[in-house]
Symmetry: C2
Subunit: 408 residues, 2 copies
């Protein structure tokens, strides 16, 4: 088998942990597998480098930022290769460009365009374990790029796709993907399997085990992704194509996102083009809007428009919105950030009705008011007051029968 | 003018120092010059990385070591470029391979083979200050190499040669090249000019301002090198081609080297091939021999052979020599490391006689015994007891009239 293993910052956070990683890699190799290892920078290292940059310049150039940040993964790549060799297995470290990871030129959040994997293939063929620096690529012009936070997950999945690997194992500090956050619901159960679609909804909703883009990439190229812990030998969670098995489970998990702020524009004239004007203004400032709800106009003249943005963008959004209020002919704007989004996710929803109804009913029973609702094929999300968040997560986890012993 | 400026580890040792470097670069650029900046890693950084490698593995692979160590210069390259941009001048950072520094594949001490300077030239042409990571290159196979200790000097001189730069300024923590170590002789005088040949003798003799290979490179491609301090605006020392001016000065400087050990093989049969056998054994172990003296055989049968090696190689050399003693038919071997080499250097020696005689006489007057003598066209070296070293340096500095006010 050809296996790609990705180790995050905590997994390579110290010399001893790198040695542990090397042992796991060597074990995998000695079981007769070809192994490609993708590593992040040692935990804290990237933040340290960002700190240096901001001490140097008020607005560090993004091109130089990428050159700077890419050094962290080089260090762990070299150290991990050395540690593997020290255990008697041949290993070779490659930077992103050496591994052929070609990206676009959008510095600090570049997108992978292709993987020219000839060198990696050749090294595997010669019997080497290949260690690849995650998080980084190179433009076709030869400039170094980074892939954004969590980009090493993407490097791993993309390399796995390019090599046609049998599995891409993402090692992290948790055992796998849970039905909800075990810190809130101790009975939360680890999932044995989950579909890419469900994982995408869970990840983008704030269950931050796997970077969203890496799941999209895995889905596109059909790469089986296994999320597991580098600190034990538990089997983890397989993220894979939807299968008949999965559809029998109506709800797979309950997610929450505390990083939300709600903006409401009151008395918006009910005429075409207004919403476009508002959201173009916000998008131009690179602010991402999540939920959007527009009430039906009762008087045929004006309505209220609500939407959510990340808490960190709340103030900027408020200012932008206030700036265009007059031009819109709206009455005023409100913002509140004591809100949270809770969501139930499951591919079974496609074939089972009543999930939304059960969710609303459960929240009502616990006296939780719903401010906004948004739905997709496999997800129902509600915006509620932040103080009810934990209560709501527990109640939903119970009502959908997610608790129970670990599956394995 | 096109100027290459190289800043060593202490000059970029902190955020504030990098900002100082940026100011100097910007000043040079604003005076109408094109500027290429070559930087080392922040002081201490390379040693820190070496320390990590040795914690990971008993014998870290040299290929991986180079990948590891090259990350230090990336950090300063990016930070320096950011600092320059922050002062309003366009700057672009390049790694060694991006700057086209191609080397052989001798990892950890690679030799530069060529500089493909198209990218650097293009960036200069577009009005950028170019910052290049020193100390690193890439093989034609695409593996990252480092150029050995002091390799950033070499990067700078090689880049200057490839670009046909008007000057290569080497910024360090001293004001220039002195007639001898000012810590030993406070009256030591800074030289305004020195020839490449003299600088080579002084550098290899332990006046460590400039890496030896960089001087050789500068001499080969006729690059004017200026050694100066990054902490003040003093003019420094110009290392250049020998000129008529220089020949009038008989002795330019007095150098010393405490890192010497003397090995004497006694009773070596006086027949052809013996010396070759000894030095081949030592060379095969990658030990560099410095001075070699063979006494004339008095009885026509056997003689004593003495040579010096670096102190760190002394024990190994002794063991090697003992191992071949029997085969040689020699009587025994002695080693002592309480020795030092002192040298007087000057291109004027070519045309002035009596320098060696004055040196021996001066040492004799101070009761210093000479153990070994070796000479070149522009240098006389004597091995003496370590305890007399400072005394000897002072006496020679005085007798050759090197003291006096700074030249400028």
């Amino acid at each position: 088998m050809l296996i790609v293993q990705k180790y995050g910052g905590t997994s390579v956070g110290s010399i001893d942990r790198i040695k542990n990683v090397a042992q796991r890699v060597v074990r995998t190799a000695k079981n007769g597998n070809q192994v490609v290892v993708v590593v992040s920078a040692m935990s804290g290292e990237t933040d340290k480098l960002i700190g240096l940059a901001h001490q140097i310049a008020a607005n560090p150039q993004e091109r130089e930022m990428d050159l700077l940040l890419s050094s962290g993964e080089r260090v762990t790549t070299a150290l991990t290769a050395m540690a593997i060799e020290d255990l008697g297995v041949k290993a070779k470290g490659f930077t992103g460009w050496q591994a052929g990871i070609v990206s676009d030129a959008v510095h600090t959040k570049a997108k992978i365009e292709k993987i020219a994997s000839e060198r990696v293939k050749a090294a595997l063929h010669e019997g080497y374990v290949v260690v690849v620096a995650g998080f980084q690529g190179i433009t076709s012009e030869g400039d170094i790029t980074t892939l954004g936070r969590g980009g090493s997950d993407l490097s791993a999945v993309a390399v796995a796709a390019a090599l046609g690997a049998d599995a891409c194992e993402i090692y992290t500090d948790v055992d796998g993907v849970y039905t909800t956050d075990p810190n809130i619901v101790p009975e939360a159960r680890k999932l044995e399997k989950i579909s890419y679609e469900e994982m995408l909804e869970l990840a983008s909703l704030g269950a931050k085990v796997l970077q969203t883009r890496s799941v999209e990439f895995g889905m596109k190229y059909d790469v089986p992704i296994i999320v597991r812990s580098s600190f034990n030998d538990n089997p983890g969670t397989l993220v894979t194509k939807e299968d008949a098995d999965m559809e029998q489970v109506v709800v797979s998990g309950v997610a929450y996102d505390k990083n939300q702020a709600k903006v409401t524009i009151k008395g918006v004239p009910d005429k075409p083009g207004i919403a476009a004007q508002i959201f173009k203004t916000i998008a131009d400032a690179n602010i991402i809007v999540d939920m959007i709800v527009q009430n039906t106009s009762t008087d045929g003249k004006s309505t209220d428009l609500s939407f959510t943005v990340a808490k960190t963008d709340a103030k900027k959004t408020l200012a932008l919105t206030e700036g265009i209020l007059k031009g819109l002919g709206a009455e005023g704007v409100d913002m509140r950030d004591d809100v949270a989004k809770i969501s139930v996710v499951g591919v079974g929803m496609r074939t089972h009705s009543g999930v939304a109804a059960t969710m609303f009913e459960t929240l009502a029973q616990h006296g939780v008011n719903i401010m906004m609702i948004s739905t997709s094929e496999i997800k129902v999300s509600c915006l509620i007051e932040l103080k009810y968040m934990e209560l709501a997560v527990r109640a939903l986890h119970e009502v959908f029968g997610l608790a129970g012993g670990a599956e394995e």
